[in-house]
Symmetry: C2
């Protein structure tokens, strides 16, 4: 049987129920840890599931920040230093990643609190998560305030990209499944993946074929 | 071994390689079919992997459109009619979903071309995908032009939500895995999921516990 809920039905739900349900409706989400540092060197780490691809040339990625949440240090640090890191969550660290969403006192770094290691690479100011296998060093490019509900879209450019060498395919597709990257749904559900297949570029009147996974030598 | 690519390395890649790689860096993505109709009743269906949660109250979801792509009918139809549908991709229809990205002539509906069924429900103008199990009827709320690369963020409000009754948990978490929703990575890789666990709300000095999946009676 199919359940139907209207806008009014959704608005009539108890708040936490609405949050759970609406956060599930968008599908499986990209989930990463965003690492930042303030001018005094205090590090911050926060989990985000609102990461979205903006463009490849230049390489741009965006995410949504809620200014009234525990994300606030992420936002203020990015505006202060102009940089941040995006670190894919994997099976070995998702519990620690989830724990970064706790409201720790301002003087406590989530790195220390949850037991993840801040790593500094290639003179990039913001800390990477050592235990993450796919890491992006991001340069802040633009802040777009969404007046509709007070959230903020932060657009950044990939200045550094790190990944396990053996996960790159010959057409530069990066095998995230091999890199152990996971996905999430709702507010709190974490999932590993199993590839169905890669599909060829779609053209009218041409049958789709599976693209075999061929790693670079 | 770890591979490191700088911004300049990424920009020096051949275009299709850069597109493949950069589209992989954001992690696993929400992937859905967006259904629209123009004022004359011509339907359009297009696959999008740039869907992002904006807020729960009111329930808002956004996605990114590239105006120079085959997505153009999606955008013009949404601006013309003020509504559209978001239909989760599942294991039974992802090949047909991928095929909607082919550049069909303007007079051909992707519904007919790929063999999916347009369904009309609750007097909503835009067509749903009958073969999709999680369907959203969206009201267009706001267009945000991202001058940084000419893409457009389309923000919509959930006016109708449909899902299989047996996938709803007692706290209103929707079990997308049970609903057969899938995820994607890069431009062309489709993946089913396997739940690791749901985790409790994080608090400092409190151990995380697994939330058991309990469906509503």
């Amino acid at each position: 049987m199919e359940t139907h809920l209207s806008f009014n039905d959704l608005m009539a739900l108890e708040k936490q129920q609405r949050t759970n349900l609406v956060n599930s409706t968008g599908g499986f989400k990209s989930v990463s840890l965003i690492g930042t540092v303030d001018k005094s060197g205090n590090t911050n780490l926060a989990i985000f599931s609102s990461i979205v691809h903006i463009g490849a040339s230049p390489p741009l990625i965006a995410f949504i920040v809620r200014p009234d949440s525990v994300d606030r240090h992420t936002l203020s640090n990015i505006l202060e230093t102009g940089c941040y890191t995006i670190n894919h969550l994997n099976e070995t660290i998702y519990r620690k990643g989830h724990q970064t969403s706790a409201r720790y006192p301002g003087e406590i770094s989530e790195f220390a609190a949850v037991g993840l290691t801040a790593a500094y690479k290639d003179d990039f100011l913001a800390p990477f998560v050592k235990e993450s296998y796919v890491q992006l060093g991001m340069q802040f490019r633009e802040r777009v305030d969404l007046s509709i509900n007070g959230t903020i879209l932060i657009i950044g450019q990939i200045d550094h990209l790190y990944f396990p060498e053996n996960c790159l395919c010959d057409d530069a597709f990066l095998d995230l499944e091999k890199a152990n990257t996971i996905t999430c749904s709702g507010l709190d559900s974490y999932h590993s993946t199993r590839r169905l297949e890669r599909l060829s570029y779609a053209k009218p009147d041409k049958e789709l074929v599976s693209i075999p996974i061929k790693y670079r030598e």
